[in-house]
């Protein structure tokens, strides 16, 4: 049995699971086990999804969510890598700052949402702040870890080559920490999506979160499910894209195992 055949078998199996899940969903809807007001069948959800795309409503909501997510995630990545690099490359900072980060990290982001609203109001800026604040942790902690774990021998190589501080960071520390950083960025992607939806719901910002909220209030369950499905697909597609980028950027690691 070769590897390709195994992979295809796994794919076929997971497709079968998904298909039977949708079939079960359709069955429950058809038998009206749950009121159609709350649970549309996959047929109605699909029709609503198509309608939303053809009249452009869903496109603009999707674009809104992607925008919130992307800005927050990028801001978190830049700040997280920069702060993480500063803390991770200095032993003193690691000793004194890292423990308080470990204390802050488990703090639920939802706890700072009221603070952000009080300070920034129900605005895009508030959303950006909350998303970036939530998404920064995995990236920053991964960067600190990655920078702290750089092989000391490589720093000695850099010293004997009299490399500049900037060159050491760009050519040695960052590439060495890149597997950790990219893994952190992948985790943050999901966090950023969740927080985008939360902020859209709370602040009424244009996006899928808002669409889902309005559909629920108006008992348009098919639209509601269309939005939820689209959010699921967004999460899946972005994380697959990130994995592909990781795979490309870390091709050198493949030869190490």
């Amino acid at each position: 049995m070769n590897r390709i055949a195994t992979i295809w078998l796994w794919r076929a199996a997971s497709f079968a699971v998904a298909a039977s899940f949708i079939a079960l969903w359709q069955l429950i809807a058809n038998l009206k086990l749950v009121s159609p007001v709350f649970l549309p069948g996959p047929d109605r959800a699909w029709a609503s999804l198509m309608r939303g795309f053809s009249n452009g409503d869903l496109w603009s909501k999707l674009a809104g969510t992607l925008e919130h997510m992307a800005y927050g995630w990028l801001a978190a990545s830049i700040a997280g890598i920069a702060i993480g690099a500063i803390i991770g490359s200095s032993r003193i900072m690691r000793t004194y700052v890292a423990p308080s980060l470990e204390f802050l990290r488990p703090l639920p982001v939802s706890a700072i949402i009221p603070v952000a609203i009080a300070m920034l109001g129900l605005t895009q800026a508030m959303a950006l702040f909350v998303i970036a604040f939530g998404a920064i942790w995995p990236i920053m902690l991964a960067t600190i870890h990655g920078f702290a774990a750089v092989e000391p021998r490589l720093y000695e190589v850099a010293r004997s080559l009299q490399m500049s501080r900037l060159a050491v960071i760009l050519k040695i520390a960052l590439p060495s920490a890149s597997p950790d950083i990219l893994a952190g960025m992948r985790l943050s992607l999901t966090v950023a999506l969740i927080l985008s939806v939360v902020c859209e719901i709370l602040a009424g910002l244009d996006g899928l979160g808002h669409w889902v909220l309005l559909s629920a209030r108006a008992f348009r369950s098919a639209d509601l499910f269309a939005g939820v499905i689209l959010l699921g697909v967004t999460g899946y597609v972005t994380s697959v894209a990130m994995s592909m980028a990781e795979h490309r950027l870390l091709a050198w690691q493949a030869s190490q195992r």
């Binding site: 092989e151 021998r153 490589l154 000695e156 190589v157 010293r159 004997s160 080559l161 009299q162 490399m163 060159a167 050519k171 040695i172 590439p175 060495s176 890149s178 050198w252 690691q253 030869s255 190490q256």
Partner: protein
């Protein structure tokens, strides 16, 4: 041994040592690791350092590299105090697996030294190819270190060190982890490279035969704290040859002397 410090003082009319330890003492973590070490290495000399495990060979080499600063005494390079590591001094680490950048190919690893030396990007590929050919790695430019054998990785590290165009090459048991055949091949390659470049070499090894085979001079260190216990001039003809040099009566005599010294230190 009391006048060990005197022995290496610069004598007028003699060439100035390229690397000079004068009364160097190093304490690390409250322990004296090297004590009152004085040693001059002439330009172009091949000096081998032997000694029991833990006697301070690596530490002495790191002092010569500028990676450690002495607690007292001083290390000079070309008559200037050595305050930090410098590009003219290249160091070949024993653990080649850790000293190479795993995310860079063989060419990229050599390039690191050229970049540090400020060579324009356009001139690098030709130089990289030349260096990889010199160390016997032509055609492996695109391989990552993890795709290479131990011997190839150590060759690559040597290529990167040569890219620094060093005046001094420091080698810390560079062949310690390699099998006997690879080792002998690399010994001859290093001798040829050094002869061609005229670099000064300090070569640390556990292997007494290797030390005599390669060196112009062999020093043996005594442990706790590290200091010079024996010094032997190796008057064997060059170029050396794996068979005839090792059978030379002088080789056998030196080998015996060094062996007795090491045995005595282990008691």
């Amino acid at each position: 041994m009391a006048n060990a410090a005197k022995r290496f003082e610069v004598i007028p009319g003699q060439p100035r040592p390229q690397i000079a330890f004068s009364g160097v003492t190093l304490r690390l973590g409250g322990k004296t690791i090297i004590e009152n070490l004085s040693l001059g290495v002439r330009p172009g000399e091949f000096l081998c350092v032997v000694g029991a495990s833990g006697c301070g060979k690596t530490t002495a080499l790191r002092l010569a590299a500028g990676l450690y600063q002495p607690t007292s005494g001083k290390v000079d390079f070309d008559g200037q105090p050595m305050l930090h590591p410098r590009r003219e001094i290249a160091i070949v680490f024993q653990d080649y697996g850790k000293a190479l950048l795993p995310w860079r190919t063989a060419a990229g690893n050599v390039s690191l030294a050229l970049e540090a030396g400020g060579m324009p990007a356009a001139e690098r590929p030709a130089r990289i190819e030349e260096l990889l050919r010199t160390v016997g790695l032509p055609g492996h430019a695109g391989k990552y270190p993890a795709e290479m054998s131990g011997g190839m990785q150590q060759r690559l590290q040597i290529a990167r060190c040569l890219a620094q165009e060093p005046k001094t090459l420091l080698m810390d048991e560079p062949f310690g982890a390699l099998d006997a055949m690879t080792r002998q091949g690399l010994q001859d390659e290093v001798l040829a490279l050094v002869a061609a470049s005229g670099a000064t070499v300090i070569f640390v090894t556990h292997d007494l035969d290797e030390a005599i085979y390669l060196g112009d001079r062999v020093i043996g260190l005594l442990p706790h704290p590290g200091r010079i216990g024996i010094e032997l001039a190796v008057n064997l003809p060059r170029p050396r040859d794996q068979l005839s040099t090792r059978e030379h009566p002088e080789f056998l005599r030196l080998r015996r002397q060094l062996f007795d010294f090491i045995k005595a230190t282990e008691q």
